[in-house]
Amino acid sequence: MATALYDDIQQALQELDKPVVLTLIDPMRYQEAVFGIVRYFTGKSQRGVYVTLNKPYSVLAKNFGKAGIPSESLFFVDGITNVPAAEEGADHACLGAGIDLSNLCIGISRAVGKLKEEKFLLLDSLSTLLIYNDSKAVSKFAHLLTEKMRRWDTQGSLLTVEMNAEKDVVSQLAPFCDKVVKI
């Protein structure tokens, strides 16, 4: 299934150069979809920033390793691990659980600024932000991020899982993305 998903992603994005994509994921395929997307972008750029709001970066790094995805090329921005104060390592920055949208933006731009090579950015996921924020604020956040990604000349994807709560964000954000990919 993971290979089929990877092929779908490759086919959907093959004609786009440095795309900024909104990926809408069937919840049943979430794990495979994440693997497929990371595999696709790690094949396109040397480095990448992975913003995780769902699972601690340590868990993700292990999962990627088990799936044979090289996580050494990733710098994780972690907005879920509970830490007493923001902390940073060679491959991650823990911003603390439940971080607000403004500080998340700043954390992301710092991480992107660290990587000098051609890079990508993945945000996992807009759905998590909808637990703590209203859809208007999440749409504004996502809009700003896509705008910055273009300025940084960074390709990547904002992920969202189909949960019946993301419809407003998807419709508002879609015009600012190169493509909406449904997995």
Binding site: P27, Q31, S102, S127
Partner: protein, 343 residues
Amino acid sequence: MTASRSEGAIQFAILDSLLYGAARAFDYLGFRGQDMLDRVGDGIVHYGISEGYFEKSDDPLQFLGSIVTFFTRNGYLSKASVEQDGYTLDVEFWDYRFLPLMRKLRDRNSYLVTCPICLASNAVTKSVGKLSERVSENLTEDGNWALRLKIVPGTEHTERSVIPAKLADLRTVRSGANLNETIGTQAFESVAYGLAYGFEFLGAQAQLLLDNVGRGMIEFMHEELNTNFPTELDGALNLLSIFMSKNGLADAIHPQLSEDKVTVDFERSRYLPVLKRLLQENRELVSCPFTLAARSLIKMRGSTVGEMGWDIEGDNVRLKMTTLDLKKQEFDEEAVGNMMGGI
């Protein structure tokens, strides 16, 4: 305000609101919603085995038999029979307590199945790479539930495995007929655990799905039990506390509100065994019926729940939630954009 109850049983008013909320939460996915719900079945099976409520068997039919026995012991039905002929199974349930909820869901054109026995059966069948197609169903003259299933290869639901080719006539079943009856707490625990366990693969965002379950619960309470929650959060949580304690979730439930905090004390909570296990297994999601409904009531009133935590003391539990006023949230794109540009 405090609501009290001294009995030790859970009423269907709580279990059915939870199962109704679950069905409604996944309707938007169509048949794929059943695949998500079957994950709850995985949790029911995991919990039942871990707690010693039933034993695992390599023979799927024998395994299913022990699960049905467990739910029979807990009062979800009074008797069951299963006859196998090749890949065809004929199942009959006596006094099947899912029927009133099935009637309600079907009246809404919702065909997803949230009967805990079916969810657990689907999980077991899928674990050996098979699915059950629902060939026909029938309500016998005695009011028994008869279902013919065909076992086919596959692990993803189709129309045939969700909607029976021949549907039963449920007009004699009254929606909500069982809400004053009781169900064994072990069956309730297994469902509650299943909800928290089933969607863990999604990480923190699964809470959004569980919040949808909470919204469905509120709908159920309103439609089936005429529970109209006041506009003020204070009053709404008090009414929810009365509802939940009256129906056996705890002996008494005491909510306390401040500007940005909600604290709820549960005396002898029936959810405690589930909570203890979830915490012990480092599982972050919570499926306590009160919590799911409360989160929904908070959201419907323009706020959302931030951090959530539990204190356990003996049989008593304290739930602590911080609330965030969504109306006060602002995201200034220009200001934040400037800050990002300066980095």
